[in-house]
Subunit: 322 residues, 2 copies
Amino acid sequence: MALGEFDLIRSFFDRPGLRSHFDDVVGIGDDCALLSLQSNQQLAQSLDTLVEGVHFPKNCDPCLLGYRALAVNLSDLAAMGAEPHSFTLGLTLPDSDDAWLQSFSDGLAELASAHQIGLIGGDTTRGPLTISIQVQGTLPKGSALRRNGANIGDLIYISGYLGDAAGALPDVLRGENPKSVSTIEQRYLLDRYYRPTPRIALGQWLRENGATAALDVSDGLLGDLGHILKASQVGAELNISSVPVSKELESLLGSEKARELALTGGDDYELCFTWPVQKKLQLPESLTEDHHITCVGRIASSPGLVDAETGQPLSPQAYQHF
Amino acid sequence: MALGEFDLIRSFFDRPGLRSHFDDVVGIGDDCALLSLQSNQQLAQSLDTLVEGVHFPKNCDPCLLGYRALAVNLSDLAAMGAEPHSFTLGLTLPDSDDAWLQSFSDGLAELASAHQIGLIGGDTTRGPLTISIQVQGTLPKGSALRRNGANIGDLIYISGYLGDAAGALPDVLRGENPKSVSTIEQRYLLDRYYRPTPRIALGQWLRENGATAALDVSDGLLGDLGHILKASQVGAELNISSVPVSKELESLLGSEKARELALTGGDDYELCFTWPVQKKLQLPESLTEDHHITCVGRIASSPGLVDAETGQPLSPQAYQHF
C-alpha cells in the first residue's frame, strides 16, 4: 500500500502505550496476530466503524478522534462485562500526515494504556478517512452480560447522565472542541461527546454480581432499551422524570429539551442494565465515586415500553414529537 | 446509523452460508460476539481493508467484491497455517441498495461456506464504499508458521503462478470482469484477480509438516520475500527463470513482461514458504491436485536478495528498471 505501510506502522502504532502486556500475544509484524485464552475464558469481540463527515466532522482534532474511536468500542466490552484484552485498527487515510498520525496515535494510546489494551494488528490504506476498530476482551465462559436476560420485575438502571453528547452535537458540527469553546457547560458536553467513559469496571462488577441484562446506550435510551426488551421478550415501564440529566445540559438547554435528548440522543455510551428487584444494588465504594447510577424503571410483562406515569407507549419517534 | 442497521444485518448477513457452525459462538445480535478456544489452541487474526477507487474500481461487481474481500483475508490465515474460524465485517456504504447487498452477501457466502467460516459480528455505516474484514483462525499453541523461521540452506517455494493478478489490472481498471471479456486468457487473469485462492489446506499441511517460514504474496514476490529475509535475518538467491508464470499470462504479455509481473506484481495471494533442504518436500495427493508448487531459490547467509545466476542484487524497484 502506498503510504509506506511498514514504516508508518512502526513509527506511529508500534509504541509504548499501544503494546500488549500479554506475554502470549504476537502483535504487529506477521501475517496474523496471535493470542491465547485461559481455558475457562471466552473472547468477546466488537467492531465499530467511524467515517469522516458521518460520525465525526471534517478536520476533527485527531487526538480526540483516536480517543473516541477506541472509547466507543471499549464501551461494547463494558456492556458485556468483559475485561479489555487487545484491539485491531483498520485506518483509511487520504494521505500520510505525520502530525495527524502522531496526534491520533496519542489519543488512542491515552485510553489504551488506561485500560491496558494493546494494539495487536491492523491495516492502513489510502482513501476517505475511516476508522474501524475491533476490540476484544475476555470473560469467564458463559458469564457474559447479555441483552436477553431481563426478567419481569427487574429494575432498570442507567450509569452517568444521558443526553450530554447529543447536547454537544451543534458545537461538534461547527468544528468546536473542548478547548475552543467559551463556557464550562459547552466544554463539559464536548468532553462527553469526544471522551465518553467506557464503563469497564462497572460492567465487570455487574456481570460478577448478578445484573440480568445490559447494553451501552449508543443510539438513544428509548431505542436501545427496546433491544433489551425484544431480546428478553418482556416490556418495561420508564419513569421519564428520573432519567438522569446533567446540570450542565439542563442549564444550557432547559429541562424539557434536556429530557428529550436524554431519552432519544445517542453517543453517551452509558450502561443501561437490569437488576433483580429482590436484591439490593450496592456498588462498592471504588465504583460509586466514578459511576453515578440511577433507577429509571422496571421490567414488565406486557410487551413494549410505556411511560410509568401515564401508561402511554414510548418510542423514539413518538417522544421527539412531544 | 441511518441504513436501518438491524434489518439490513438480519436480511443480508444473518443467513445460511454465513452462520458459524461452532456451538460455542454467539454471533450477530448483542453488544459483542463471543467465542471460545480449545485449551491447546491459539487464535490467529488478520484485518484487511479494501477501499473503492483504491483497491477495486468503482461499480465493481458486488459478488466478486464480496468473494475477493474475504479471500485476501483468508490468505493471511493460510500463510500462518491456521484453520478458519470466523470473521467480522465493517461495511461502509454510500446508500442501502438491496440488490448490491444481496450480491455482495452471496459472494461472501460462497467462499465462507467453502471454508466453513461464519460471520459473527460487524458494523454497517454510511459513507464511501469501504470493506474491512477481520478473519480469525485457530492453530495449536506455538505452531504458527511465522516469517522469522527461515534457515540458511532452506529451499524457497511458491504455490501456483505469480503475476496473473497484475496482468489483469488493465482490464480491472477498465471495469471488466470475468464474464465481460472476450478471450479465455483475459477471463483467466480476471478470475485470478477477483477470485484468488486462499491456500488454506496447503498452509495447514506446511505448518504440520515442517515448513520453516511462510507468507502470502500480496505486494509482489521480491518485496514480500524480503519480509521473510528481514524477519529471519538471512539472505536469499532467487532463480528468476524458475518463478512460476501461467501460460495465459505469457501468451498475453510475452515472457519478459510476464516475468516482471511475476516478480513485482501483487494481489496473487499465493504462498511463499521455506523448507529445510535436508527434508524431501512431498505433498500428499489431495494437495498436489490443487496446489502446484515450484522451488524458486534458496536461503543464503549473506544479507539481501540476489539473482542466483548473476549474483546481482534484486529489488522490486531495480527489477522494474530492467
